[in-house]
Subunit: 129 residues, 2 copies
DNA sequence: TATTGTTATACTCTATAACTATA
DNA sequence: TATAGTTATAGAGTATAACAATA
């Protein structure tokens, strides 16, 4: 189990590095498929809001995302991906083929069984298999 | 799969924090069950030797490990855990019950099946199940 | 010459605390 | 008063480069 998690984590880091991103940056970029606020993002990633400020600043400097004003709440910001951000995120996801490669060695039945066991071991339903 | 890996990583980090360690520190401490050199450790963790120097310095400051001279090669150091280091590592492992908790919700047959699938998905044998 | 380990330095992630602007 | 986000700051992980001691 440890080795599996380790391999997964490494694959994620390598894929991010291939696109000059850190794990944290790839993670944030991947979670802005729709416009959203920074507080929301900090809650989802269970980290302090000041982290998000910094990571967003780095992604913004590369023009991968933009911070727009929110007309409904003038304290808040709406994060959106630029077309370049969309493209880089898609490229990152193609690079991060760990899940696909891992699954490719299993039959369809085995993939279903694995998803089922992981879900049960986790004790709660996963968002997507 | 992502959620499973995420939960595993979080459990590891929380367990380390419960004993005032970072993930990197718990990882290094856990890998010195027998005396070993720093180059060896850096290779296993796939990081630069200078990282090991720093992490070891922090563990040594807490008297959890010691750096001994190696009579066979006077350039090298042998890292060993102190009794306090052994005790803390054991306590950490008890705290990191993710694997046990996760497995507890599975039957013995399911546990075997999961280990088998993960091994196959990983494409190489795991060191220990 | 090559290797082990250290030091200096720089970048990033992360959190805390203090702050501004808005609700 | 409470919340969204920023700024300043500090500790830790990480890598690179230069170095000393030894092989």
């Amino acid at each position: 189990m440890f080795d599996f998690v380790d391999a997964y984590d490494r694959a994620y880091e390598i894929a991010a590095a291939q696109h000059d991103m850190t794990v944290a940056q790839a993670c944030v970029l991947g979670r802005i498929s729709k416009p959203r606020g920074m507080r929301d993002l900090a809650d989802e990633l269970r980290c302090d809001a000041s982290n998000i400020t910094q990571i967003v600043a780095r992604l913004e400097a590369r023009e991968l995302i933009e911070r727009h004003a929110n007309p409904e709440d003038r304290r808040a910001r709406q994060l959106i991906r630029t077309p370049a951000g969309d493209a880089l995120n898609a490229a990152f996801e193609r690079s991060f083929e760990f899940a696909r490669n891992a699954s490719a060695t299993l039959t369809a039945d085995e993939q279903n069984e694995l998803a089922l066991l992981l879900r049960k071991a986790l004790g709660q339903p996963m968002v997507d298999g």
